[in-house]
């Protein structure tokens, strides 16, 4: 449910680190709470964002949630599959349902995030 190789924010986003690039998405808990995701509003490539700031919105049939970035930096890639076929966020939230990739400004920010066990504990 909560892969151990990822880091988690309290706003229910996850981070997968590949060198200097952080891949970001929403957790299983988030997509379950939302229900069927129908729309994802993501920023343009090249946008600079700060850690924990809002980078977009995710909508289900009956709810809207803000997306907060667990890390800061420059957005280098945006997942067009998520925008074209939002159901991938429900189907594979840690895989093809990723949302953005960020070139980290400060890798130390990852230390401020939770590991899988800690995040899971917050859900109980």
């Amino acid at each position: 449910m909560y892969p151990e190789d990822l880091k988690y924010s309290k706003e229910h986003e996850w981070v997968r680190l590949n060198g200097n690039i952080a891949e970001v998405g929403v957790t299983v808990f988030a997509q379950e709470s939302l229900g069927d995701v129908v729309f994802v509003d993501l920023p343009a490539e090249g946008t600079e964002i700060e850690q924990f700031s809002k980078f977009g919105e995710i909508e289900s049939v009956k709810a809207v949630s803000d997306l907060f970035s667990p890390v800061g930096g420059k957005i280098v890639e945006v997942n067009s599959s998520a925008t074209d076929s939002p159901e991938v966020v429900n189907e594979e939230p840690y895989g093809t349902g990723w949302l953005i990739k960020i070139e980290l400004s400060d890798t130390a920010q990852l230390d401020t995030l939770m590991d899988a066990a800690t995040y899971q504990a917050t859900l109980e």
Binding site: G35, D36, V38, E87
Partner: protein, 493 residues
């Protein structure tokens, strides 16, 4: 070729699917004036693609569609905060009288004295009922009345050179239009908590009310169907901080003749004529949302306001009016219906409305409390909020119960509102329903609770017997199809 039928087959083809070239449903007269020169062809369009069907096809098509609806005329409709009471037919008939339906809004006042007099009398009656004598019937719905009320509040503060007041305090239990209207009025929305009794947390309000407070928006009774026991103190806190109290009057059906909002310290309120005053919902409007204010604030009301002068009745603009919020005078034929309703019920009748609405809601609450949690553990007013948390633990959500009710020909109560109550089902029977109808509803709700254990799939897959089962709303949002096109014409199952 064999034509087969199965129960529940309904022809869902659209008008354009049924259209056949050359058919028509109507003839207009020939022109009786000499032929006039047409504009250059560069101005003119090709034919509009509208349906070509016979007149019987028009009547049959819409008549069949009407039979797919639940309505007050055909079903019990306990939608909380919507006040689905009987819509008297005489009101529809009278509002459509020649001389009322066919007058133009810009006719000189002297040619529409009857219409303006009707509006003035309705203003006076609403002022009497709410205790807020400054009334404008201009707003076209509750949300617009709300917005107008907030503009009045801002105009008042500006006239007091108090333009730093830019905050609207709104309870966490508020209807969505409250913060939406506040945002449109340029006000920052600050939320005040409800306590565990569903009342406004008075201490939290005391902390929040200050020199930035423009207005405190309160639904009375609340969205939990409860009357604020601390209403006088709440209003005093807001006034002491220099703010105004705005009452969302959506639930006015609980208060007619029982208390006047103005007496409680409310400065501004709106009412929904399509709720409390019996005008039809129409499937989503038209409504009418008159805004009522204290005498002191009346000069800020949106135009126009009906007034009586020595020269007769006029549609006038208050001296410091916030201006026009829409095109003309508001929903006149809706106002006419509401006026007819007030005249029909009269003093005693209106009081009786609220008294019976309150008794009926408490009866349902009393008869269901052993099976369903009640959101607040005390007597309610005209509506009761059930919380289906026990049922959720057993595998059935409020939504499922709502859908199952449809199978019994009962429209679902309001679901998931207010947001502070889990699995909320807001039930408002109104005074229009007989005790037998209430007993039937109670029996069905009790049966559904039993079904959770005996046959939960009946509930989880409900409704079963309607023109459609649960619809795929996710696909409807992901891949919107919002009109007929020749390519996406009728999809047979």
């Amino acid at each position: 070729m064999t034509i087969t039928t199965s129960a529940g087959d309904i022809d869902r083809r659209l008008l354009m699917d049924r259209s056949v070239a050359g058919r028509k449903a109507f003839t207009l007269p020939e022109s009786d004036v000499p032929a006039q020169k047409l504009p250059d062809s560069s101005f003119l369009r090709d034919d509009v693609e509208l349906p070509e069907v016979s007149q019987l096809e028009v009547i049959r098509y819409f008549s069949v569609l009407s039979q797919l609806n639940f309505s007050i005329d055909t079903n019990f409709y306990p939608l909380g905060s919507c006040t689905m009471k009987y819509n008297p037919k005489i009101n529809d008939e009278l509002a459509n009288l020649p001389g009322l339906a066919d007058i133009h809004p810009l006719q000189p006042d002297e040619t529409v004295q009857g219409a303006i007099r009707l509006l003035k009398n309705l203003q006076d009656d609403l002022g009497e009922i709410t205790g807020l004598v400054g009334v404008s019937l201009a707003p076209l719905a509750g949300a617009q009345g709300e917005y107008a009320g907030l503009l009045v509040a801002r105009a008042y503060h500006e006239s007091q050179n108090d333009s730093a007041r830019t905050v609207a305090i709104v309870p966490d239990s508020a209807h969505g239009t409250n913060p939406a209207s506040a945002a449109m009025a340029g006000l920052e929305v600050v939320t005040v908590r409800s306590d565990d009794q569903g009342n406004v947390d008075v201490e939290n309000l005391r902390e929040l009310a200050n020199e930035s407070t423009a207005v405190f928006m309160l639904t009375i009774p609340s969205t939990l169907g409860l009357f604020e026991p601390n209403i006088l103190e709440i209003n005093k806190i807001v006034h002491d901080a220099g703010g105004l109290v705005y009452a969302d009057g959506a639930n006015l059906n609980a208060l007619l003749g029982l208390v006047k909002l103005g007496d409680l310290g409310v400065d501004i309120c709106h009412s929904n004529l399509h709720k409390t005053f019996s005008t039809p919902h129409g499937g989503g409007g038209p409504g009418s949302g008159p805004v009522m204010v204290t005498d002191e604030l009346a000069k800020f009301l949106p135009k126009p306001v009906a007034m009586k002068t020595d020269a007769g009745y006029v549609m006038a603009t208050p001296e410091m009016s916030i201006g026009a919020i829409n095109g003309f005078h508001g929903s006149f034929s809706i106002a006419a219906r509401a006026y007819a309703y007030i005249k029909t019920l009269g003093l005693e009748g209106l009081q009786s409305v609220s008294e019976n609405a309150i008794i009926s809601a408490n009866y349902i609450q009393a008869k269901l409390r052993d099976k369903y949690n009640i959101a607040a553990d005390r007597y309610c007013m005209h509506e009761t909020v059930l919380s289906a948390t026990k049922q959720k633990k057993r595998g059935v959500a409020g939504l499922d119960i709502a859908k199952r009710l449809l199978d019994f020909g009962i429209h679902a109560p309001t679901m998931y509102f207010p947001m502070i109550i889990d699995e909320a089902l807001m039930v408002e029977p109104t005074e229009s329903e007989s005790k037998e109808t209430l007993d039937h509803f109670i029996a069905v709700m009790r049966q559904i609770d039993d079904e959770i254990d005996s046959s939960p799939e009946l509930i989880l897959e409900a409704p079963h017997d309607l023109p459609v089962t649960r619809l795929d709303e996710a696909t409807a949002a992901r891949k919107p199809v919002l009109r007929w096109t020749a390519e996406s014409n009728f999809l047979s199952s």
